[in-house]
């Protein structure tokens, strides 16, 4: 066959958790099979189907890039049965299959983003170190090792990079404290215990570009003077753990890790520690105790970890995203990095945009962008056009809900804290008017109450009491004064808890009371859930005008509360009704109120 246009043929398939769940492995197998059958493989004589990390637009997975004749086309929602047509029409004949290419929403999704970390994620094969080296990988580490540690620290400090784990402490400053601290050995730890429900930035970076994190750790180790590093990662991320293991052994083989790395005098190696499922271990002192093999309970600070951390030694703890930024800063310079974002909030931030928004996925935006641009331009607005935007929740169980009136607010560390939320690690869950804010607060409290380690009283007992109050409100048993009680309890827990978990646990409750007080009042005083989400507050009845006498509600009712006979309109017996909502879901005509 004619080889024309097939030089440099590349087919890139996304193999993040999102892609694999959508069937990307099957797509890869099908491409290989079809290419072999059509003898394309023999013609190009090389492995042309490659894997890449997450491109962020997981809602349209499996995403496949076909690069032919130097031109790149992206297909969305690819399944194995679509492969043969793509091979025949596009790869062999050179006519892309227009109707399967990504649509305009793919482009609007990307147009407002600034992809720095994620650009590499979509480019390279995460299971092959050569692919990272080809785009300049490990150059930054080599360069850093030729510099004095203080020069490295100064560069990172000048870039203005702040910890991406949530609190936003200056990374350069943390390293300086650790460097200056007496005592050896020193340790550097990568916190990959991404426990916030609703966040997956760190998982995507490790799955897509594990070497960038390793390189960041090597540079950090040189800066603070550490010979040993740990990556503390959740056991719930099996794919990320596998990719890390592969990456570490490849880096060792290249002598980027081990004794005398990069032919310098420096020794440095990294060990993986699997988290065992405790949210509190995202807190620095608890995480270190967990690495030591103990129960992951926090301790009072000071002394800070930079002075007395792991095994009582000076330790720098950095988040995955923070570390992935380090090689970029070393390569492109602090000035370049500081020019992105705003003065006090430099660089980009990854967010996991999820919930009731049209385009869900992983996004990377410059700091200081407005919420509106994220939700409406990148996210494409509400998933269901008929629904109204109600709130966006940032910072996971430690953060708060932000209402529509703040949509023009810039997204940076300070602005978010000022309105009672926080950056957290970057989860962003969009809610529409079918989400009940009291129920949402209860959901988060259930989580923190369950994850409270029990060491300090305000958090252990306080979150339990708050949860009891919230539960009775959502069940229609709320009392006068409950809102004040929640506010008081919340404020006390915030002020008196030992660690960040307890100090921030009341945030979802306090912020929803602040912005959606009327919803709490409707539950307590009128016994109504305005979002119709709290089942116990629903009163089911049949609208006789709309009822078509089909009897579907009668058949699904588990408690015999629906009275119906053929050619008769249904009636619900309120005494027998258990408010399960089965009739409401079953009615095709919307006649159940």
């Amino acid at each position: 066959m004619n080889n024309n246009g097939l030089e440099g043929l590349v087919i890139k398939v996304c193999v993040g958790t999102g892609g694999l769940a959508a069937g990307s492995q099957e797509v890869i197998d099908e491409f290989n099979k079809t290419l072999a059958a059509r003898k394309v493989r023999a013609a190009v004589r090389k492995k042309c189907v490659s894997k890449t990390g997450c491109r962020g637009f997981c809602a349209k997975d499996v995403l496949v890039d076909v690069v032919r004749n130097g031109k790149s086309f992206t297909y969305q929602l690819v399944s194995p049965d679509k492969v043969s047509r793509i091979v025949d029409e596009h790869i062999i004949s050179g006519n892309p299959v227009e109707e399967w290419l990504v649509g305009p929403d793919y482009h609007t999704f990307h147009s407002k983003q600034t992809k720095i970390l994620l650009q590499q994620c979509g480019q390279i094969d995460p299971e092959d170190i050569r692919s990272y080296i080809d785009i300049g990988g490990y150059k930054a580490a080599k360069k850093a090792l030729s510099l004095d540690p203080f020069e490295v620290i100064e560069e990172v400090r000048a870039s203005g990079l702040r910890g991406r784990g949530g609190a936003g402490f200056l990374t350069g400053l943390k390293w300086e404290f650790c460097k200056m601290s007496g005592g050896t050995p020193k340790y550097i730890i990568c916190n990959a215990d991404e426990g916030d429900p609703g966040a997956f930035m760190d998982r995507s970076i490790i799955e897509g570009n594990p070497h960038s994190v390793i390189e960041g750790m090597i540079i950090g180790a040189h800066a603070i003077g550490a010979e040993k590093g740990y990556i503390y990662i959740r056991a719930e991320y099996p794919l990320a753990v596998d990719r890390l293991r592969t990456a570490l052994s490849q880096a060792r083989a290249k002598k980027f890790l081990g004794k005398k790395i990069f032919n310098s005098r420096m020794n440095f190696d990294i060990e993986i520690k699997l988290g065992a499922g405790a949210f509190v271990c995202g807190e620095s002192t608890a995480l270190m105790r967990s690495i030591e093999g103990k129960r992951g309970t926090p301790r009072p600070t000071p002394p800070r970890s930079v002075n007395k951390g792991l095994w009582g030694r000076p330790t720098a703890l950095n988040n995955v995203e923070t570390l992935a930024n380090i090689p970029i800063i070393m390569n492109r310079g602090a000035g370049w990095f500081a020019s992105i974002g705003t003065k006090k909030n430099t660089g980009t931030k990854l967010f996991a945009l999820t919930g009731k928004v049209k385009n869900t996925g992983l996004i990377e935006v410059p700091m200081g962008i407005s919420l509106k641009e994220i939700i409406y331009d990148i996210g494409g607005g509400m998933e269901d056009k008929n629904r109204r935007f109600k709130a966006v929740q940032t910072g996971g169980p430690s953060g708060g809900c932000i209402p529509a009136s703040y949509l023009n607010m810039p997204v940076d560390y300070e602005s978010l804290v000022n309105i009672g939320s926080m950056m957290g690690s970057g989860g962003m869950v969009v809610m529409d008017d079918t989400t009940c804010m009291v129920e949402m607060a209860r959901f988060f409290l259930t989580f923190t109450e369950n994850e409270s380690c029990g060491k300090c009283v305000p958090c252990r007992v306080g979150t339990k009491r708050m949860l009891e109050v919230l539960t009775r409100i959502t069940e229609g048993r709320g009392k006068e004064g409950d809102i004040d009680l929640l506010t008081e309890l919340g404020t006390d827990i915030r002020l008196s808890s030992l660690c960040g978990l307890g100090q921030s646990a009341p945030n979802p409750v306090l912020s929803t009371i602040n912005f959606f007080r009327e919803e709490y009042e409707a539950h307590i005083k009128d016994g109504i859930c305005p979002a119709r989400a709290c089942k116990s507050l629903r009163r089911y009845a049949v609208d006789a005008e709309l009822c078509r006498m089909c009897g579907k509600c009668f058949r699904v009712c588990p408690s015999g509360a629906v009275v119906w006979e053929k050619k008769q309109k249904a009636v619900i017996d309120k005494e027998k009704c258990i408010k399960c909502g089965a009739c409401y879901d079953a009615c095709p005509f919307g006649s159940i109120l």
Binding site: A21, P197, G198, E236, A278, G396
Partner: protein
């Protein structure tokens, strides 16, 4: 037989301090849960009180003190999955598989249903994992698909 497996685990970790969590993780991988006799064996070998092992095992959500089902279904109850309705799907699964009230494993030991805080695949919420296979954008109608995975 237990001893042979335990010794394999011990050989891996033996030299370094602070490996209780790793030992427990490997123990669970080998035996399916944290066995009392295995804990006692390690306690003796390492001269660490068994209570230390149990202190750690009961602290972390990952460890199970009772045997689990042959198949594991994990339902994600993270924020995004919660908003998109994972709870009714879990209830439906429990009903289909006749999981007894208050428990998480079927009476024949064939399947365990567990819920986790977040598996980090929020963009394809609600997410379920059946024996390591990920099911995204799950709906009530597709519950039988997951049940088919269980052998």
């Amino acid at each position: 037989m237990i001893e042979k497996k335990c010794r394999e685990i011990l050989d891996r970790y033996h030299r370094e301090k602070g490996n209780i969590i790793s030992i427990l993780q490997d123990m669970q991988e080998s035996f399916g849960y944290i066995r009392e006799d295995a804990v006692n064996w390690f306690s003796e070998q390492l001269n660490i009180p068994a209570s230390n092992f149990y202190g750690v095992a009961t602290f972390y959500a990952q460890f199970y003190l009772k045997p689990r089902g042959k198949n594991i279904i994990t339902g994600c109850c993270g924020t995004a999955c919660h908003v998109k309705g994972s709870a009714p799907i879990i209830n439906s699964l429990r009903e289909h598989l006749a999981i007894p009230e208050g428990g998480d494993t079927s009476r024949d030991g064939k399947v365990t249903i567990e819920s986790v805080a977040c598996v980090g695949a929020c963009s394809i919420a609600p997410v379920f994992i059946v024996n390591k296979k990920v099911f995204g954008k799950m709906t009530l109608d597709r519950v039988p698909e997951m049940i088919k995975e269980i052998s």
